[in-house]
C-alpha cells in the first residue's frame, strides 16, 4: 500500500521533468531535465524491486546509471561544440 | 605492477557484483578483468603503491563520515531555499585557490565540492577552482575559500598525497 503511494509520487515527479523538457526556455534546461529523469528512473527501479519481488530489476538500475551518464556526457559535449573524440 | 593492481581491483568488483564463488564464474571474471586490464591499463594511476598503505584507508573512513554529515546538513539548507516563498538566493561564480598538487586529489576535491549542495565546480584551471555558489555570503577571498573547501582539503591531502 505505502509502496504504491511512493511509486505514484515518483511517477508524478517524472512528469515535472517532462514539463521542463517541453517548456524549457533553452536547450541546456532540457538537458538538465533529461539528466534528472535518468536518476529518477533508478529510484523507480529500486521501489519496483520491493513491489514486484523481481530481483533482476536492480541490474537494470545499475545499467541505467551507466547509460544515462554516457547520454549526459554526450549531450554536454554537443553543447560545447567540440568533437566527440577529444 | 600497476597492471596487477588494476587486475585485483577489477576482480574484486566482479566478485561483489555476482556474489558467486563457483569455478566457471571465477574463470569468466578473471578473463573479463584481464581483457579490461590490457585495454585500459596504461590509463591507470601512476602511483599504484598508495593502494597498499593502510593509513590512507583510515583517513578515508573519517573523511566519509564528515562528508556524509556535511552533505545531509547542506541538503536541508537547499531544501529551505527552494521551498521558502521568497527564495533567498544570491548566486555567483567565485575563484578559489587550492594547495593540492596531484590530479587525482584535485578530481576528488572537485567532486566533493560538487556533491555538497550549494556549490558546484564549473572548471579547474591549474590551481584555481571556479565554483558556482547558490548563496555568496561574503566577498572576501579568504573567508569563502575556508567556507567552500576548508572542510575537505586537509583530509584529501592526507588521503591522496
Amino acid at each position: 500500500m505505502i509502496i504504491d503511494i511512493m511509486l505514484y509520487i515518483l511517477i508524478a515527479m517524472s512528469f515535472f521533468c517532462f514539463i521542463r523538457i517541453l517548456f524549457g526556455p533553452s536547450m541546456a534546461d532540457r538537458m538538465v531535465a533529461i539528466d534528472i529523469f535518468g536518476i529518477l528512473v533508478v529510484g523507480v527501479c529500486g521501489i519496483l524491486v520491493v513491489k514486484t519481488g523481481r530481483m533482476f530489476l536492480i541490474d537494470i538500475a545499475i545499467a541505467w546509471i551507466i547509460l544515462s551518464f554516457i547520454a549526459t556526457i554526450t549531450l554536454a559535449k554537443y553543447l560545447v561544440g567540440k568533437k566527440l573524440d577529444e | 605492477m600497476k597492471y596487477i593492481t588494476l587486475f585485483i581491483i577489477l576482480f574484486l568488483l566482479w566478485l561483489l557484483l555476482t556474489l558467486n564463488l563457483e569455478g566457471p564464474n571465477l574463470i569468466v571474471g578473471a578473463v573479463a578483468a584481464l581483457i579490461t586490464m590490457l585495454v585500459f591499463g596504461k590509463h591507470f594511476l601512476r602511483d599504484w603503491y598508495k593502494f597498499f598503505q593502510p593509513r590512507r584507508y583510515f583517513w578515508i573512513i573519517i573523511y566519509l563520515g564528515i562528508f556524509i554529515w556535511e552533505c545531509i546538513k547542506a541538503n536541508f539548507d537547499v531544501a529551505y531555499r527552494v521551498l521558502s516563498p521568497k527564495m533567498p538566493i544570491k548566486p555567483g561564480i567565485v575563484r578559489v585557490k587550492s594547495t593540492l598538487k596531484t590530479d587525482i586529489a584535485k578530481t576528488f576535491l572537485a567532486n566533493s565540492i560538487t556533491m555538497t549542495p550549494g556549490t558546484i565546480t564549473v572548471d579547474v584551471v591549474d590551481d584555481d577552482f571556479f565554483i558556482h555558489w547558490i548563496y555568496v555570503s561574503s566577498s572576501d577571498p579568504d573567508v569563502y575559500t575556508q567556507k567552500v573547501m576548508g572542510r575537505f582539503e586537509k583530509y584529501i591531502k592526507r588521503i591522496f598525497e
Binding site: I3, I36, I58, S68 | L19, T114, M115, V136
Partner: protein, 107 residues
C-alpha cells in the same frame, strides 16, 4: 526491519520532491542544476540504502550498495560537464547574480 527501510524510502522521496520543485521554480540553468542534481542524487542514494536494509547482504543488497558510489561519481561528473557546457554555450546568468569571476578566463 521493513519499517526502517520504509523510513529511508520516504526520506529519499522527500529529497527527490525538493529537487524537482527546485527544477521548476529556480530562475536559471545553473541554479536548477544546483538544486536538482544533488538533491535528487542524495534522495536516490537513500532509496538504494533502504533497499540494502530491507534485503541485507544478499545479491540485491550488495548490488544496491555498489550502485551508490557509481551514482555519486556519475552524477557529479555529469553535472560538472553540463554546467561547463552551458557556460561555454553562452547561456546568461540570471539577474540575481552578484559575482562572476569566470568570464575573464581565456577560452
Amino acid at each position: 526491519m521493513n519499517s526502517i527501510s520504509n523510513i529511508f524510502f520516504i526520506i529519499g522521496i522527500a529529497f527527490d520532491l525538493f529537487g524537482c520543485i527546485g527544477l521548476l521554480r529556480l530562475p536559471d540553468v545553473y541554479n536548477r542544476l544546483q538544486s536538482a542534481t544533488k538533491s535528487v542524487t542524495l534522495g536516490t542514494c537513500s532509496i538504494l540504502l533502504g533497499l540494502l536494509l530491507r534485503y541485507g547482504f544478499t545479491a540485491v543488497g550488495v548490488k544496491a550498495l555498489l550502485a551508490i558510489p557509481l551514482l555519486f561519481f556519475s552524477a557529479t561528473v555529469a553535472a560538472h560537464a553540463l554546467i561547463r557546457g552551458s557556460y561555454k554555450f553562452g547561456i546568461k546568468l540570471s539577474d540575481k547574480t552578484v559575482v562572476d569571476d569566470y568570464k575573464d578566463v581565456k577560452k
